[in-house]
Amino acid sequence: MKAIWVCLFASMLLGCGGGGSSDSPSPSNVITNPNTTPSTTPSTTPSTTPTTTPTTPIDRSTTPQDAARLLTQATFGPTKAEIDAVASQGIEMWIEEQFDAPQSHHRAQTLAIFNADDNARIENGAELPWSGHRYAAWSEIALHGEDQLRQRVAFALSQLFVISDKSALDNSHLDIATYYDGLADYAFGNYRDLLEFVTLSPAMGVYLNMLGNEKPDEDNNIRPDENFAREVMQLFTIGLDELNLDGSLKIQNGQPIPTYDIDTVKAYAHVFTGWHFYGTTYNTWDNWWQNRNFRNQMVLIPEYHAQDVRKALLNGVVVEAGTDGERAMQMALDSLFEHPNVGPFVARHLIQRLVTSNPSPDYIARTAQVFNDNGAGGRGDLGAVVKQILLDEEARQPRADQAPEFGKIKEPLIRGIQMIRAFGIYEPNTPKPQWYDYVFNQSPLSSPSVFNFFSDSFTPAGQLNEMGLVAPELEIINDTYMVRNSNHAAWWSIWTPSTQEIDAGHERAMTIDFTPFISMLQNDPAELLDYLDLVLLSGGMNDTMREAILDYDQVAKEWLSDVERVKEMTFMVTGSPQFAVQR
């Protein structure tokens, strides 16, 4: 039974089989880089935002616990080394360094993993990467990338500007990786630039049907497709109802105020006509596959644009009849960007993905304010917004001061990565393709619909509902996935072979060197538990939990070896409800 288990989960996260034997590892828990490093040619777009005059951030050291909490919010999981670094240099300096860290690239990494995969290319004759190559690239970057903050923000943005391979893009994994790299490009840039990138992205064009959208043809009862027009407002920029700066609904006569109606959707739908793959011409408009190009942004073919229609957009902006399509597009994007909803809408989303599911109105307002004006008159400065979110008093409050409603359920995929990052990884071989839906019910840019993996307002029945609190992530952690997450933690904590146990004939992509943890245990089990508490729970373990785990070790040591005791103690933390939560 156990052997079958190991192989089943190994194929999820490690990759069973294949040829080659692993090298003899050097005992170390330092994170190593993957064999193939993608070339990093940063492709930043000049920002039009006036930026604040750079000042030297105050060198302010902090506690290891707060450093761990920050890293849980801002990376794919703390490591002991990074906790120590942040604790001594201070959070603000760490953030500034992260702004300059070299960027990891998903497209190049996907290609590298695919090119090294003989099973896919040769035995299966694949000409293009599979989804599993892209997911493995994503997790390699999450595990090893230096640009942790940028990648964490990009992941959050991928849940706002959603595209998914569960669509017509189901064989376009390099193209989806290109889109993801674009989100990462703009993670600290300007929201207006990001919105334009997304709108003119051919991947988005295919996903929400703007690509190839045509002006009306009344004789044939054809109107422009409304999909992108509706979702760009509902999901990417302003939402359904007018908001105050603090994210609360504006109320008129006891009712919320809708931001737009069907006529607004139609007006934007008319603006979003005439766009197609780069390289398309008037004559080749219908030759969809001939023109396929996912590297460049879409271009306008004026003959297919609804130029002669007057379009009444948001905020009183009117695109008069006769306006050319490119000008109309800029006006439309500006009208969305300038809407007062955008600040609180984006603020709430980013706070929910990074810090807490139920931010206070003041926290949203402080963050939205920075979106509206970064301190130097610039609107839409995402770098400033991210910095504000992480440095805000609500994110940084010590545990003792936290309100009960602070915190969030971790996204299952992030929790899985955290668990692995905490231990250090040895990788003798190039990563194999990985698939994460089975265990985590989520994979990057693979949500069931443009509505992301879960609803931002999901609240489960019970205490959270009674308190008026949302817990979006619980929508995908249902009965089936509760068990699978637990089993995954168990597999990783208990059944992953250590470097000491490695079977030379059985190729492993990742494994753990338990040597340092065994010495901690032998010194004092509480010392190991302290380490797990700091790196996995940011020091939040209470005495009841501590006693329970130490009691277990006292009993279990009668029949378990030292390395087995280390693994059991690890599972008691990684499989715990406490580890599922971030506070």
Partner: protein, 456 residues
């Protein structure tokens, strides 16, 4: 901060069933069960027969007006004129044998559905959708308060269909409210099972849904109580649960505890029920969901569940693009799944106990965007089972012409049957009394009884 959640909480607190003392999670489940006890008799005592309802949600908005196509020449020509490139050729339509409305046919890809219909196994409820109150086109256009909120928005319309209340601030579904009234109080096992994802439909004020996958119940590894070598680990692990001291951790721990209990119950209940050999004919994931549902219904007796509510789903119906390619495949999957499920239930000897029906967040525009359709309003739904008056089309069937009194604009059709009216008849079959039905559908009295009966 006023959020949609806050609104729903205030409404929740005002309704008759909800004058409840706040529940703490540490006694959560027990307190919830005590409350349910106060609401209605336990189903195992109340019912001496077995019934199950199965909701199949078609996510994306199903262009059901392209499933039921007029075939008489005048009406067909109007349809073809309206639909243009998306019209299905007349010779590809299979006749539905009925006298309720105009002549209709279904596309070849849905031949299994035509067969079910013509054998009296299934019927159609036409032109249905969320409505605040009965209203004509001019009344709707003159008074936006008669229009359900956020029409044409996927998630909001999914909420309206699943809640059965034309108000998006509600956090319970009509299936869940039915479960509230009949759930058993001396078990932690819900009577609502989802094979099609977390959904609002099955969410009650108290009643929960239990997520299963098509292979059944997920087995614990390290925490599996069936293996004694796990006992010590489990014992200490449960102490870690009890250490939870914030709302999020407590919630997670409580749910994990429930899963452990319920998994054991379900494993033993399912152990005596086999798979059948019925061929669902490539009905894909939906077919697999229904296969497991059939087993669960057969297990009603061993699970001591005289009443069950199931949720399955099929996505992909948001055919803005490429509809001529995508929609027939979806309709074929749906048809094969329904036919396979019906045959499976008959083979198990339980078909008389089950009513299956579709829902979808909206129909689609009769006008096209070139190669697809956009979000509409009213659509047709299928209902299937022994107890159903089969081979019927219930309700008004509009002509497929734009700018008529049925057309809200661009061929988005105005519903003539409400979800309340539809659900109320299902709730009655399920065994709820009149006042209970009005509790599940508080707006029902705005509509009056439908002028049809779904059940024989």
């Amino acid at each position: 901060m006023i959020t949609k959640t806050s609104f729903s909480r205030r409404r929740f607190l005002k309704t008759s069933l909800a004058s409840i003392v706040a529940l703490t999670t540490s006694t959560g489940l027990a307190a919830q069960l005590q409350l349910a006890n106060a609401l209605g008799a336990q189903s195992s005592a109340r019912f001496n027969d077995h019934k199950a309802i199965v909701c199949i949600f078609l996510y994306g908005g199903h262009d059901s007006f392209n499933l039921l196509v007029p075939t008489a020449s005048g009406e067909y020509n109007n349809y073809a004129q309206t639909r243009q490139s998306l019209a299905i050729p007349l010779e590809e339509l299979i006749d539905l044998q009925q006298n309720d409305v105009m002549h209709l046919g279904v596309p070849q890809s849905a031949d299994a559905l035509a067969d079910l219909f013509n054998r009296g196994r299934a019927s159609v409820v036409s032109n249905m959708g969320p409505m605040i109150a009965p209203a004509t086109k001019s009344e709707l256009l003159n008074n936006t308060r008669l229009q359900p909120p956020q029409l044409f928005s996927h998630n909001d319309q999914q909420t309206l269909w699943q809640s059965g209340l034309a108000d998006t601030n509600i956090v319970s579904g009509w299936g869940g409210r039915m479960a509230d009234l009949v759930m058993d109080t001396d078990t932690s096992l819900p009577l609502s099972f989802s094979l099609g994802g977390t959904n609002l439909f099955q969410r009650g004020r108290i009643a929960q849904q239990y997520a299963m996958n098509k292979d059944g119940v997920e087995q614990f590894g390290a925490l599996n109580p069936e293996h004694s070598w796990n006992d010590t680990r489990i014992a200490h692990y449960l102490r870690v649960f009890e250490a939870a001291d914030d709302p999020f951790t407590r919630t997670y721990a409580q749910k994990l505890k429930n899963v452990r209990t319920n998994n054991t119950l379900l494993n033993s209940g399912l152990s005596s029920v086999a798979n059948t050999d019925i061929d669902y004919r490539e009905a894909g994931d939906l077919g697999d969901q229904l296969k497991m549902i059939a087993r669960m219904i057969e297990a009603q007796a061993s699970l001591n569940q005289p009443r069950q509510i199931f949720f399955a789903s099929l996505g992909g119906f948001d055919t803005h693009d490429d509809q001529a390619y995508l929609l027939p495949r979806l309709q074929q999957t749906l048809s094969h799944a329904l036919a396979g499920f019906d045959a499976d239930l008959q083979a198990r000897g339980i078909a008389q106990n089950v009513v299956t029906f579709t829902q979808s967040e909206f129909g689609r525009t009769l006008t096209s965007n070139g190669d697809g359709t956009d979000h509409g309003w009213a659509g047709h739904q299928i209902i299937m089972g022994d107890a159903i008056d089969g081979g019927r089309i219930f309700g008004h069937m509009p002509e497929q012409v734009i700018n008529t009194v049925d057309d809200f604009g661009d061929g988005r059709m105005i519903p003539t049957t409400s979800i309340d009216q539809f659900g109320a008849q299902i709730a009655q079959w399920f065994g709820l009394g009149t006042s209970e039905i009005n509790d599940v559908f508080p707006n029902l009295n705005r509509f009056g009884a439908a002028d049809f009966s779904l059940f024989r």
